[in-house]
């Protein structure tokens, strides 16, 4: 039976919703906060900020991360910046404009109420981070500097060189360490959540494997927050860190949490192309580079083998500037990625295998000088040179799209609570704010909005509104969840087959990239839906996981994650097959305009697709949350 999904977006005019809601929410008395325990899984921008802030408020917090330190969460790798509607540049920005750009950028598949709140909170985030000592870039007058980013015509992105994510994360991490030192947060590094504990229909804890000792134990609490990031690694090759995984949200899904819009994945246009079969991950080159870099390929196939300098200006096709004159090289990610794929499909790609386009800084260097460019992007240029052994000050970079972010995630209401009471989901792990495509510099904004400002309010309301009886560690639900994890772990170790975990992961990635990547078709998706279950069956029959469960065993960790990806990949394809329209990052070949742009079908698909687990052998059940637009008019998205 389909779920009843209540968004719980408060009534009233958009600008007043969040304020009113904050007033209407119940509060926990300061003296009572210490009686509550909250589990936060993940220590990135969303999880780290939430854990620190909840502890500052007085709750007992337990925070978990799979890395050896909370400072290593993958938020750290975000390069370009964070958006905020400060309008410091006096260029016409406003909360309303950031709201509109984000909704439009998401191709009208996100909730108005959530996105407006995000735009409102964006300004508080910058203030908070400055107060923490985040070393944002400054102008000579000492004020905060801004740069432009894709999908916007105002300059609203704050940054710290090419390491904005690092600096924001270190801000949250330092706040977290402050609270750990004070005793408000108990930190569990090298700990992986392997199941959710649901008692009487409420999320009351998690099952955790200590990665060093292999001990599997239940950890109980009054509420659980998952801030465990996205699932881009289902594609094997992505810009995500090697350890990024879907296990926490997938196990929650299998305990009843709805998974929303799983097929909405973002392919980022500017990554370093794949070099060989041994490739273990892809490296992003920040979108901010498109402020000064011009994207082109040779106009004629015959010129593709030439050195870029030997292709005359007149023989170059600056295809983004040509197709999208008003946004040009700063077109949104989904559009820029598809355009790059298109020219490569035409045989005009450059570099090994013809899977690359140029990102050329020659004009910018002539205009602004090499020093200015070095100041803006120096570390990115160095990173590029280190990987490719080519000097981008002298030859254009070669770039190609790569999987970068997942807009889909666990379904949450306006309070960031899933359909399992007590289970909250924040940051990339939820589906909430980016619709079918995320704009650049908006992930950091959402992670910190959720962690610093939304959850600390809404979680209190949940705790104050519900009577939560203590749960015993020997309660049947707890014992059963721990036993499930132990059985599964033993099963992974017990197969002792012939194929490595990585070989399965690579094969799954190829299927996903081929059939559920930048261009999807009903035929291709059906093929994938046949291939994935076969691969999954082979995995459980023939995977090789050496070593023991009672020690640090990185192969075992990887195996568990890949086992979950092998299930999630299927759900993604099912979702992509059912959504008979193109929108944002989801491009169905059958649904395009005559000039090859995405064609939405608002009459049939203006909803959130939330999938519910129905058992290992039954297809997931689809529920729909209609998207209601009261304040903006849906339009064909145009960046021309």
């Amino acid at each position: 039976m389909p779920l009843e999904l209540k968004s719980k977006v408060p009534a009233g005019p958009l600008p007043e919703k969040w304020d009113r809601h904050r007033f209407d929410m119940k509060l926990v008395n300061p003296a009572n906060k210490r009686k509550y325990t909250v589990i936060v899984v993940g220590s990135g921008l969303a999880g780290g900020a939430a854990a620190a802030t909840l502890s500052e408020l007085g709750y007992n917090v337990r925070c978990y991360c799979y890395q050896d330190s909370p400072r290593r969460a993958h938020s750290i790798a975000a390069q370009g910046g964070i958006n905020a509607a400060k309008n410091y540049q006096n260029d016409g920005d406003s909360i309303q404009r950031l709201f509109y750009d984000t909704i439009k950028g998401g191709d009208f598949r996100a909730r108005e109420g959530n996105v407006y709140r995000l735009a409102q909170i964006s300004v508080n985030i910058i203030d908070q981070c400055v107060a923490q000592g985040v070393p944002f870039a400054r102008e000579y007058g000492g004020l905060l500097a801004n740069r432009s980013f894709g999908g916007a015509q105002v300059s609203r992105t704050f940054y710290a060189r090419g390491q904005t994510g690092q600096q924001l994360l270190l801000g949250a991490y330092q706040a977290l360490e402050k609270e750990i030192d004070r005793g408000g947060v108990l930190m569990f590094p090298r700990a992986e959540m392997l199941d959710l504990i649901v008692v009487n229909g409420r999320a009351r804890g998690i099952v955790v494997r200590d990665e060093v000792t292999g001990t599997i134990e239940p950890h109980l609490a009054d509420a659980v927050v998952l801030a465990t990031g996205g699932y881009g690694n289902v594609f094997y090759l992505s810009t995500n860190a090697k350890g990024c995984n879907a296990t926490a949200i997938w196990r929650a899904y299998k305990r009843g949490a709805a998974f929303a819009n799983p097929c909405f994945t973002q392919i980022h246009p500017t990554c370093i192309p794949v070099a060989g079969d041994y490739q273990s991950k892809l490296t992003l080159m920040s979108e901010s580079l498109r402020n000064d870099g011009r994207v082109w390929v040779p106009a004629r196939k015959e010129d593709c083998g030439k050195a870029p300098g030997d292709v005359a200006e007149a023989d170059r096709d600056y295809f983004l500037e040509r197709k999208y004159p008003s946004f040009g090289n700063l077109s949104p990610r989904d559009i820029a990625s598809r355009a790059a794929k298109e020219v490569c499909d035409e045989g005009r790609g450059v570099g090994p295998g013809g899977r690359g386009v140029y990102l050329d800084f020659a004009d910018a260097i002539r205009r602004a000088g090499e020093d200015r460019i070095r100041e803006r992007y120096g570390n990115l240029f160095e990173m590029y040179q280190r990987i490719t052994d080519e000097n981008p000050y002298h030859v254009p970079m070669r770039i190609y799209p790569a999987v970068h972010y997942t807009m889909g995630g666990l379904w949450v209401d306006y309070n960031l609570m899933s359909n399992i009471p007590g289970l909250h989901v924040a940051g990339e792990a939820n589906f909430s704010d980016h619709g079918a495509n995320r704009l650049g510099a908006s992930a950091l904004m959402q992670g910190l909005a959720d962690g610093y400002f939304v959850l600390p309010n809404t979680l209190g309301d949940y705790l104050a509104s519900n009577k939560l009886e203590p749960v015993a560690t020997d309660a049947p639900e707890v014992v059963a969840a721990v036993a499930d994890v132990a059985t599964r772990t033993a099963r992974l170790l017990g197969v002792k087959g012939t194929r490595t975990v990585a070989s399965f992961h690579r094969e799954l990635g190829k299927i996903m990239w081929e059939y559920c990547g930048m261009a999807r078709s009903a035929e291709g998706l059906r093929t994938a839906l046949e291939l994935i279950p076969k691969l999954r069956a082979e995995f459980w029959r023939d995977v090789m996981v050496p070593g023991e469960g009672t020690e640090l065993n990185q192969t075992l960790e990887h195996a568990g994650r890949v086992a979950d990806f092998l299930e999630l990949g299927e759900l993604m394809c099912r979702d992509a097959l059912h959504r008979e329209e193109s929108c944002g990052g989801h491009f169905r070949l059958e649904h395009q305009t005559p000039d090859g742009e995405a064609r939405r079908d608002d009459d049939r698909f203006a909803y959130v697709a939330a999938w519910e687990y129905a058992g290992n052998d039954a297809p997931a059940v689809l529920s729909k949350e209609p998207l209601v637009y009261e304040n903006i008019k849906l339009s064909q998205r145009s960046y021309k």
Partner: protein, 258 residues
């Protein structure tokens, strides 16, 4: 290309360890160092053997997870480069490469090349922050920060916490790491109220964690994948001395801002 690896294998924290030899054959010069290890590991797994454990995550030189002594040099032969961004083109066919974990008293080995760097987190916890709670911050542009100060603070804040400085130091000192955080915050107006108290507490924590003292060998700066300057250690020493003669960490009073 083909290489011979001599890799430190150690089953667990209390087990004895030793160098074990592996052949890394058919290695492409375009591979990263970690991709070379992946290749060796996949071949071990296919034979049912336990692969070499090493920490790694982002593989773009920013998370600070990876790090190993490569021929006795932290992060290997390429300056300003973390292990994950080191490529095999830095090696020659036929080379023998010795790979060991970080060696420092404060970083006990967990397994093979994986060490426990929790001490660095505790140094941050001792004072490496500005004591502001979420909410109530004033507009970000209220306090102008001279661009040169912001840039300098950013130079220090670029530290990725990998621990190479400790591993490279003959004394096993964490001075470069600690001084980078002290300088990042100490160079910004937001960090001034706690500047001296912070110096006292973080330096005290370094001692508690059994890191060695700094005698300005300068090896840390050479090993740092982010080229963090040893000048920050001088700043730390200045702040620490000032703080030591004017206040104590326990009083929490802090300095008068100099």
């Amino acid at each position: 290309m083909n290489l011979t690896l001599k890799v430190w294998r150690q089953r667990g924290p209390t087990a004895d360890g030793g160098l074990q030899e592996y052949q890394a054959t058919d290695i492409s010069p375009e591979m990263s160092f970690l991709e070379m290890l992946d290749t060796v590991n996949e071949r071990l797994i296919a034979k049912g053997e336990v692969p070499i454990a090493f920490d790694h995550d982002c593989r773009e030189g920013i998370c600070g997870s990876c790090g190993m002594m490569i021929d006795g040099v932290a992060h290997g032969p390429m300056k300003g480069t973390a292990t994950c961004q080191l490529h095999m083109r830095s090696f020659k066919d036929g080379d023998t490469v010795v790979i060991e974990p970080w060696r420092a008293r404060a970083f006990p080995v967990i397994k093979d090349l994986v060490v426990d760097r929790g001490a660095l987190d505790r140094i941050i916890g001792a004072g490496g922050y500005v004591s502001v709670s979420t909410g109530g911050a004033k507009d970000g542009n209220i306090i102008p920060v001279p661009k040169s100060d912001a840039d300098w603070a950013m130079d220090a804040a670029a530290c990725i916490g990998c621990g190479a400085c400790v591993a490279a130091c003959p004394n096993g000192s964490a001075s470069l790491f600690t001084s980078a955080k002290l300088s990042h915050l100490g160079l910004l107006p937001q960090g001034q109220p706690e500047r001296y108290r912070r110096a006292l507490k973080m330096v005290a924590q370094m001692d508690i964690e059994s890191f060695g003292g700094c005698t300005l060998y300068g090896e840390c700066q050479e090993a740092c994948p982010k080229d963090i300057s040893i000048d920050f250690i001088s700043r730390m020493n200045r702040d620490f001395l000032y703080a030591a003669v004017t206040t104590s960490a326990d009083s929490g009073a802090g300095g008068d801002g100099g």
